[in-house]
């Protein structure tokens, strides 16, 4: 039985609505209805993190999240990180600079978790970062470069906000 349902939500800052098959995962909806192909289909059982997106400020594996549950939610995917002229964000540039990308399949998922981490504005130890990034599999890089990219961006942002804070005093 095909059961269709209206899903209204905010995706990357824009209010969107569409009729969705109740059996669809959020990955299905984002890729098929909105062509947001940064959301990768990896394991599809919530283990690899390739389909990770931010929903209301928290990271979720969209493969084990039903599309109908997205009704009323604020969803952000990797596409939201690009600047108006396609500029990369600092964390994306850091992934390139640190050689944290090889095949690239895990990268969008990792980046969205990195965004959640960075937006807390907190300073984490290397071990804490390891735990916070533990929901992603990467079969190319060996993780060290990914950790380097997140750690360096975290330190850079913290130094920048300290500098701005000092200037405003």
């Amino acid at each position: 039985m095909k059961q269709m349902q209206l899903v209204r939500c905010t995706i990357n800052g824009k209010e969107r609505e569409t009729m969705v098959d109740a059996r669809a995962s959020l990955t299905d909806m984002l890729r098929n209805d909105y062509r947001l192909t940064s959301v990768k289909k990896g394991c599809e059982v919530g283990e690899c993190g390739a389909c990770n997106v931010i929903i209301d400020g928290e990271c979720f594996n969209s493969c084990i999240y039903l599309a109908v549950w997205a009704d009323g939610k604020n969803i952000r995917t990797l596409e939201s990180l690009l600047g108006p002229n396609g500029e990369l964000s600092d964390i994306q540039q850091a992934f390139i600079d640190e050689a944290a990308v090889q095949c690239g399949f895990c990268t969008p998922g990792f980046l969205m978790t990195a965004v959640e981490i960075l937006e807390t504005g907190k300073e984490y130890t290397r071990d804490e970062l390891r735990k916070l990034l533990a929901g992603h599999l990467c079969r190319c890089t060996g993780y060290e470069n990914i950790l380097n990219a997140v750690e360096k961006t975290m330190k850079k942002r913290l130094a920048e906000s300290a500098r701005v804070g000092a200037m405003n005093q």
Partner: protein
């Protein structure tokens, strides 16, 4: 796309019960990190679902008038860990569920689902059993309560009746007051792994911190469901705070457990873990309670 026959979204607890009465074959879905995987796996393919995912009335942690800690079942692991009431009165539960899977899994997985699936390796299970949690269920005949030890029937089976759902996990004041606990998960990896053995110990010490007034210990994966170790508790209760007491409790625990050999680990390894983790978790709980060994 999931192989789902139909999904009904509950608007309230009463509506959920109504839907479950109307669709007796339906399975309850909360976070989905078990149910959706079983659908993908084929085990639940073609099922009918009653979703309680959107029931915000079942989210959060509250304090009842009599001091009972009321943990609502659709609260995610992440929100359990971050909850101020949990941090103040039941910190070990927040620590235990912080060991589940990885961050995204902890954002979707719920404490209610973790208990209702009746799985012995659930990271919350041993701690809830060790703290004498009371399970509150709502069904067509109203609300009833059951001690968590009776809630776990056998592997994969809990005492929920047809059309009933878990609506709260209660921790009585007597259970958490002056009580300090520690959970150890032994697994092969630091994340995205299932416990080879889980051990949760909590203690209440005398005012002078010299005597163990009450010690409770429970395990996951040491038997078909999370279970206590009465012999270990008997060895500890009323005894002086000492390394000898800790040793004796660890040894005594072996007579209470019945782990099996699985592809994850042998019975022998699990028995060794029961003794060792009991000692370590007990020692740490004493330390947290202000005692010195």
């Amino acid at each position: 796309m999931y192989d789902i026959e139909a999904i009904y979204e509950a608007k309230s607890v009463a509506h959920a019960v109504e839907l479950l009465v109307q669709h007796p074959e339906a399975k309850i879905i909360a976070g989905g990190s078990d149910v959706l995987i079983e659908i993908r796996d084929g085990k639940l393919a073609g099922c009918t679902l009653v979703s309680i995912q959107k029931l915000d009335e079942l989210r959060g942690v509250k304090m009842d008038g009599d001091g009972t800690l009321r943990i609502l079942p659709v609260t995610s692991f992440t929100h359990i860990t971050r909850d101020p009431l949990i941090q103040k009165y039941f910190n070990v539960l927040g620590e235990a569920v912080d060991e589940v899977g990885g961050p995204q899994v902890r954002n979707i997985g719920t404490i209610g689902g973790n208990t209702c699936n009746g799985v012995t390796s659930a990271d919350s299970g041993s701690t809830l059993v060790a703290w004498d949690a009371v399970m509150e269920m709502t069904g067509p005949d109203g609300v009833r309560r059951l001690p968590i030890r009776e809630f776990y029937v056998k592997a994969g089976k809990v005492a929920l009746r047809p059309a009933e759902l878990l609506t709260a996990i209660l921790i009585p004041k007597e259970s958490y007051e002056n009580c300090h606990g520690h959970y150890i998960k032994y697994a092969m990896r630091n994340a995205m792994d299932i416990a080879t053995l889980g051990c949760s110990v909590n203690v209440r010490l005398s005012a002078d911190k010299k005597t163990v007034e009450r010690m409770r210990v429970a395990y996951g994966v040491a038997g078909p469901v999370p279970a206590r170790a009465p012999s270990a508790e008997a060895e500890a209760n009323g005894r002086p705070v000492s390394l000898e007491t800790v040793e004796a409790a660890g040894k005594a625990a072996l007579s209470d457990v019945n782990p099996r050999t699985s592809w994850r680990a042998s019975k022998e390894l699990r028995l060794q873990l029961v003794e060792e983790l009991t000692k370590r978790a007990f020692a740490r709980a004493i330390e947290l309670a202000g005692g010195k060994l």
